[in-house]
Amino acid sequence: MSGASEPVTATRRRVVVTGVGLRSPAGNDVDTMWSTLLEGRAMAAPIEAWSTAEHPVKYACEVRDFDPVERFGHKEARRIDRAGQLGVAAAGDAVISAFGEGGPIGAGIDPARCGVVGGTGIGGLATLEEQIGVYLERGPTRVSPLLVPMMMANATAGLIGIEWRLNGPNLCVATACAAGSNSIGEAARLVREGAADVMVAGGTEASITPVATAAFWRMGALTSNPDPLVASRPFDAARDGFVMGEGAAFLVLVAREAALARGATIWGEILGYGRTCDAYHITAPPDGGAGAAACMLAALDDAGLEPAAVGHVNAHGTSTPLNDAAEAAAVTKVFGARGVPVTSAKGVTGHLVGAAGAVEAVASLLALRHGQVPPTANYEAAEEGVEIDVVAGAPRPLAAAPVVSNSFGFGGHNATLVLGAA
């Protein structure tokens, strides 16, 4: 049966994760990232991609040991922006871990029933910046014919579809720092509702560029801490901004019954998904985090769970004064004072913008798999009056209870996933 003729039904299918892949500042595979998160080791380091001699920002969380020519070959590597390279590489690992080298088609699945939701905050920014320089210096006849397909935000989703020949729904979600979680949530809905049987979903970002880094710095979003190793400190009273990060993570989402029938390895389940908008300010959250609280409650309602059933919160926790204050207030509103353990990966990874929610969804699944909540790097103490239970110093043992994973984006976009154990 083709995708086009498959009706979207009211039947709610359970959606599970059967593959994961990532490229992150904390490692390029799940085991490396998990051990880095457990150690609570901050990965911020001097920027290697370009000279920071004339730049106020000197360090970031870059992805290391990633060779695009090895992955894509010479010709393709130079036709794909780093955002696409990281995303397609992460998605490829996810697809192979779920289906083997032949992907869904090799496993006999109708390609019209397979799709992609690829999120990003910005898209191929390094290419755009470079080509604007070419235009200004040398004029329009020297602009690369590859600029459009390299810079467009939807390139990653398109490229993943091409690599694995997936003809079903293919979308790009660009909700800034919420894009990774929105992508996974929207893709899970497509599988749940029967619009697709296999969705490759996640986010990618490669915006540690000179101009974008200057722009985030100019808006006051970045930390000015001189020591990279203690700069990203989510929820800590001394936090003063985030550390730029880059990377990608993708999940393979399938209907649970089909996964069980194939004997697939199941990483966990997407139990619920909420999305709301602050409708308040283009970059700042409202005091008290009303939109974030509503989002968590919407996700829990979608999962059919009470807040008390939640084992821990994988927070957005960017280490900016405003985000963490609003999120702490929202968590307290939903779960009560010190009512749930909270962790943020961003003390380790920095802020991966449109990839953050996807990397953190993987971290949440790993926490469920290993029965431990990783610590929040650099957290010492929250401000007086902030009543949240931040996991810090060492991992905390966890019963396999559902995880709430939050992402909030400029624009007022809020996205929450509820993830359950396999």
């Binding site: 070959g73 010479h74 010709k75 036709r79 006849t141 690369s144 014919p145 590859l146 397909p149």
Partner: protein
């Protein structure tokens, strides 16, 4: 500049864009079928050659280019005649 010298410049540009074996870049080689160079790659190749030889090749003159030899013909037409 004779045809072999132009071929050398063109070959270098093709190898840098496509990453193919330099030995594969012969005048008979078909850009799409033999070298897997699509229209976007050809534009990139010609841009690199334009820079190297300080010439300008209008896009419309590339539309009938199928082989490396076809590209050579177009490029040679833009260069001052060899002595």
């Amino acid at each position: 500049m004779n045809r072999d010298q132009v071929l050398e410049v063109l070959s270098e540009a093709i190898v840098s864009v496509i990453g193919c074996d330099p030995a594969a870049v012969t005048p008979e080689a078909h850009l799409a079928d033999d070298l897997e160079a699509d229209s976007l790659a050809l534009v990139e190749v010609i841009m690199a050659v334009e820079d190297k030889l300080d010439i300008t090749v209008p896009e419309e003159e590339l539309k009938d280019v199928r082989t490396v030899g076809d590209a050579l013909d177009v490029l040679q037409g833009k260069l001052p005649a060899s002595p």
